[in-house]
Amino acid sequence: MVMITREPEFFPPPINRLGQFGRNVLLTCRNAGRALLMLGEALLDLRFMFSQRSRPEVLHQFYVTGIKSLGVISVVAIFTGMILALQTGLELRKFGQEVNIGVAVMVSMLREMGPFMTALILAASVGSAIAAELGTMVVSEEIAALEVMSIRPVRMLVMPRLAALMIMTPILTFYASMLGVIGGGIVGLTQLGVSIPAYMDNAVRYAENKDLYVGLFKAFVFGIMITIIACHQGFSTTEGAVGVGRATRQSVIISFLSILVVGYIITRLLYE
């Protein structure tokens, strides 16, 4: 069982900058270890996902993650597809190849832009909200109260959020990718003179199943990362309202950086 409520930590001032750097490295490694332990416990707790106790909270988190994010994801996805089609199409037109915007938009959206963009939106909206919510609970001693009552915060608070994000991120990614393709089709038709049947034929003919699977796999990994980073940052909150603000900001920054780095690594591993 991972204890969330921790004792305050005090460190002597570092001797020099190298000492400070070394301490930061060690603390980062320790925090990563704690986050991974929490992830392990939350993954084990997924077996209680459909239990009578957990079901209402799990469904609520699906609603918050999925339905409440639909609006912003729809707008961003459709415009991303339109921008992709326009930029690519204007260049391809020079060679008379504007019909190939279909595959360009489809592959870009499935492999990279869909999962990347969806994950960034979820990290900024849902992830930051998780960090702020859990941080406030730490500050107001609600987490300590749960632990004193022998109620595990990981099962009650982390597991439902993990379930929602790891399932909803791939679904939202697929949805965003398809909207992006539609946006690209609209630009192709109205500004590049590419008919919808030609655009779709080109998109479907040259895109591969692997593009879809890799994109969904990335989204699945991003969903887990966003949850664990946000929950860990929230639970690590100290120093009241200022601490909640810091945890929220850190959650977004770490999630963004992790999404970029891990996204690159997955692409590198699966497309070499």
Binding site: M1, S140, E142, A145, V148, I151
Partner: protein
């Protein structure tokens, strides 16, 4: 029985508890008073193992809670109910759901049994008819009473109160004092109360301990506490207009300048 054996705790280079030893008897209401930052809440957090001593041990009965982990710690904690300073209610749950939370998570009771127990405990803290309200709709005093109902819903042997009257008006504070006394009488629980409200401490305490700079500088029954020769205790009493000439000695709870 709760026993502290030479407990010392450091926060960095600062000693927040310095060789504290004390025994709290079953059924007793033990009050810990002191200035802000003296180490009162730190003492309370050691009892429930939210903090671990750097030196010494804390026992609950024969078990050292300061060394318990995992399932052993869970079992020891089942003996406790804790009223946190702000109530620590979960904001998204209703009053009834907050009070029912330990029962739902820790027992196999049916919905009907849970509802009956919740209503019984809310009645005990004089809060009926607010089952469906949310914590944000409640006053500070009501939040504390809901927190108390949740603390006693599992029928604990020990109740810990962290600043139960802080931030409340005098009338509500006295109502909370009466509730603490009622818990002791009706449930026969051991109570440990941390407060800087001396009026409250003298009203409800079986014994009062004063902590200053991490050390217990006085521990006595209320009538003896106000006669303390310790200068720090005297200044604490004077600061709250309670003197040896007060009528506490005669058992009448009034204050005197």
């Amino acid at each position: 029985m709760i026993r502290f054996e030479h407990v010392t705790k450091y926060f960095g280079e600062r000693t927040v508890l310095d060789d504290v030893s004390l025994d709290i008897e079953p059924g007793e209401t033990f009050v810990i008073v002191g200035f802000s930052g003296a180490g009162k809440s730190v003492t309370l957090k050691h009892i429930i193992r939210l903090l671990t001593p750097d030196l010494g041990r804390v026992y609950i009965g024969a078990e050292a809670i300061s060394e318990a982990t995992g399932r052993d710690l869970e079992l020891l904690r089942e003996q406790f109910g804790v009223l946190f300073q702000g109530g620590a209610l979960l904001e998204w749950l209703s009053v009834g759901e907050n009070v029912a939370l330990p029962l739902r998570e820790r027992t196999a009771m049916t919905d009907a049994e849970i509802e009956r127990r919740v209503q019984e405990k809310l009645k005990l803290v004089n809060l009926e008819g607010v089952m469906d309200a949310h914590p944000s709709e409640l006053s500070g005093g009501m939040r504390k009473r809901v927190g108390l109902a949740r603390a006693i819903v599992m029928n604990p042997h020990i109740i810990l109160y962290d600043e139960p009257t802080s931030g409340l008006d005098p009338v509500t504070s006295r109502a909370i004092d009466q509730l603490i006394e009622r818990m002791r009488q009706e449930l026969n629980v051991t109570s440990v109360v941390v407060t800087h409200d001396l009026f409250s401490a003298l009203s409800i305490g079986g014994r009062i301990a004063m902590i200053s700079d991490g050390r217990i500088i006085e521990m006595a029954k209320p009538a003896d506490f106000i006669k303390s020769k310790n200068e720090v205790v005297k200044s604490f009493l004077d600061a709250q207009y309670i003197t040896k000439r007060g009528v506490w000695e005669r058992g009448n709870h009034e204050t005197h300048e």
